[in-house]
């Protein structure tokens, strides 16, 4: 099994404005651990750096600093080609992530062939059908020759999941996998991901801004705010006992019919007072400096 250790990840983007160049730090010393069988949810507002982290993990972007180490159980590091096989991504928009010109079969057969998972045409076809059945797209023989436009959004996202698993993924990065789907279908897709995770002992990074599903479908939640981790801990602890102002604001903003009539209620925190200088770590039970290398982060005292 494979785990991912992300240490002090930094990503800077250069913004050119006329002759002026400014640096935007999208990700600032973020450390994460993805271990087999566990789901880590990454939550935060748009622009907080969630997707940048996903892109770095899938090697679509290079980090400015920091390391991403992928290790097997026996302690060996995973080499480059194996990395591309074992770390796979499911994208947000199943309408854009599948090629409209190709059949569903092609989408799943291609990663199988590229990564030498199957040799012969017949074998590939069998594997494709097997994959489709695993993601509950049945009858598989009927689905395989179709093109993406003939499937519903939920079905397409299932194809995207099958495609990610086809080369033998061990680590799954899911960037808002259900936000574009109808609500009644979301649960089915999330449950499917949960089942596949148990079957294959996958390490999952679930990127979302939906706190309710983050809580129910992950073991651990990491809250990002302006590129830094401001709170981390077990899913229930972070949602039910938030410490950082931003997490409190998020928890209060999510719709919750158990507390009706709160639409006009004021924010629980002063928005201008939200900063990202410190991170509350529920595992350690203390505040630590944020935006500095993990080994150097000192405990800080902070009222919460």
């Amino acid at each position: 099994m494979t785990s991912v250790h992300v240490t002090d990840l930094v990503k800077d983007y250069t913004i050119r404005n006329g002759l002026k160049r400014t640096r935007l730090r999208a990700v600032d010393h973020v450390s994460l651990e993805l271990t087999p069988g566990r789901t880590v949810a990454l939550v935060g507002e748009s622009g907080s750096g969630k997707s940048t982290i996903a892109k770095i993990l899938t090697r679509m972007e290079k980090p400015t600093a920091g390391t991403v180490a992928v290790e097997r159980d026996d302690g060996t590091t995973v080499d480059r080609s194996a990395y591309r096989r074992e770390v796979q991504m499911v994208f947000q928009d199943p309408f854009a992530s599948l090629n409209p010109f190709h059949s569903i079969e092609h989408h799943i057969a291609r990663p199988l062939r590229i990564h030498n998972r199957t040799a012969k045409g017949e074998e590939t076809r069998e594997r494709v059908l097997e994959m489709l059945e695993r993601v509950n797209l049945t009858p598989a023989a009927n689905i395989a020759p179709r093109r993406p436009h003939e499937l519903s959004g939920g079905q397409r996202q299932r194809v995207a999941i099958a495609r990610a698993l086809a080369p033998g993924a061990k680590v799954l990065i899911a960037d808002e996998p259900v936000s574009m789907l109808d609500v009644s279908i979301r649960l089915g897709v999330l449950n499917l991901m949960g089942r596949l995770q148990r079957e294959d002992d996958l390490a999952v990074l679930y990127i979302t801004h939906d706190l309710a599903t983050a809580r129910h479908f992950s073991d651990e939640i990491t809250v990002l705010y302006r590129g830094r981790v401001v709170e981390r801990g077990p899913a229930d602890a972070v949602i039910l006992d938030p410490h950082h102002e931003y997490t409190k604001l998020l928890a209060a903003a999510a719709p919750d019919p158990e507390r009706p009539g709160r639409v006009t209620a004021a924010d629980p925190v002063d928005r201008d007072a939200i900063d990202n200088s410190a991170c509350y770590d529920h595992f350690a039970g203390e505040w630590r400096e944020a935006g500095v290398p993990a080994a150097e982060a000192k405990a800080v005292t902070r009222a919460d």
Binding site: E45, S46, F95, N136, H149, E150, L151, S152, G153, G154, Q155, S179, M180, L181, D182, V183, S184, I185, R186, L187, G188, N191, L192, G194, R195, R198, H209, D210, L211, A212, T213, R215, H216, F217, A235, D236, I239, L240, L249, L250, A251, A252, A253, A254, P255, D256, P257, E258, R259, P260, G261, R262, V263, T264
Partner: protein, 321 residues
């Protein structure tokens, strides 16, 4: 305490104290006249009361947008209203039969009495003109005699109302953030002080924090200006929080129309219960869903797609939120 707060409180205790109706839809049927005609809205009846927020829930393809468009007569062929009546009850006592309006009357009616915040409102602004020009265009189309000064003042006022700095009047849509564009759209919809605003998924794709801001704005404006809102979304927890009453649509039919409180506590229709069961609860027990309408004994095997209305394979509809 405002009138709206009262309404909310009473809704919890007893039946809501409903005011006079502002819009009545009776047995509305909308058909898409394609090769195999599709009845997108079937015999839908509902009454919208003055100052009320009516939620319209259901998944994509259930006909909620078609219904909203038909009320405004914005539907285009092949969609056709095959039967039904839509009556608008004006503030000054006149009843307007919307389906009988002539073109010119219809143009005058739209936006002035009933405005709409369209789905994907973030992208509904014209990208090549400024916010100022778009507000001015709307104002002058309906109030041709307005002076420049009045146009400017009104534009600034509506922006201020929705919480956008009037200094952004000169901005092009791409210079605004998603939440700001959404606010500008809402400002545009309330520009002429309509009595009804139809909002089609106004907060989908926005951050929860920004979404909360917009909702707060809508409720506040409703309390101030007392317009009625039809709020269309598939986000049921959100509707339960802000609506007075909620209509649930399934395959073109309104299967349940109840006060938010009642719908939440004692939903009658199995589909409503299923919808309620699709949302994990934020503050409840871990593994608890908003209302346990779905059998959760076998998580992972649950495939709601199998039980939801099946879309014919040849006609995949937008399922996109």
């Amino acid at each position: 305490m405002t009138a709206a707060d009262n309404r909310r409180d009473e809704a919890v205790l007893t039946e809501p104290a409903l005011t006079e109706p502002v819009l009545t839809v009776e047995d509305l049927t909308v058909v898409y006249e394609v090769e195999q005609p599709v009845t997108a809205v079937k015999d839908a009846s509902l009454t919208l009361h003055r100052g009320e927020i009516l939620g319209l829930a259901g998944e994509s393809g259930c006909g909620k947008t078609t219904l909203a468009y038909a009320v405004n007569r914005l539907h285009r062929p092949p969609a056709r209203i095959s039967s039904g009546r839509i009556t608008f009850h004006d503030k000054d006592g006149d009843d307007v039969d919307i389906l009988a309006l002539e073109d010119a009357e219809l143009r005058a009616f739209r936006w002035d009495k009933l405005s709409m915040v369209f789905q994907g409102a973030m992208n509904a602004l014209n990208p090549v003109t400024t916010v100022r020009a778009q507000l001015k265009d709307t104002l002058l189309a309906h109030r041709p005699r307005m002076s420049r000064k009045e146009v400017r003042e009104r534009s600034e006022e509506v922006l201020r109302r929705v919480g956008v700095d009037p200094g952004r009047l000169g901005s092009y849509p791409h210079e605004l953030s998603g939440g700001m564009r959404q606010r500008v759209m809402i400002a545009m919809a309330m520009l002429l002080e309509p009595q009804i605003m139809i909002m089609d998924e106004p907060t989908t794709a926005l951050d929860v924090v920004v979404q909360r801001d917009i909702l707060r704005e809508i409720v506040r404006l409703r309390d101030e200006l007392d317009f009625a809102v039809v709020f269309i979304t598939h986000d049921l927890p959100l509707l339960l929080e802000i609506s007075d009453r909620i209509a649930v649509m399934l395959e073109g039919e309104i299967v349940e129309l109840e006060t938010a409180e009642k719908l939440y506590r004692e939903a009658r229709h199995p589909y409503t219960r299923k919808l309620l069961g699709s949302f994990p609860s934020l503050s409840g027990e871990r593994g608890a869903f908003i209302r346990t309408g779905v059998d959760e004994t076998a998580p992972g095997e649950e495939t709601p797609e199998a039980t939801t209305p099946t879309v014919p394979a040849q006609a995949p509809t937008e399922e996109r939120a």
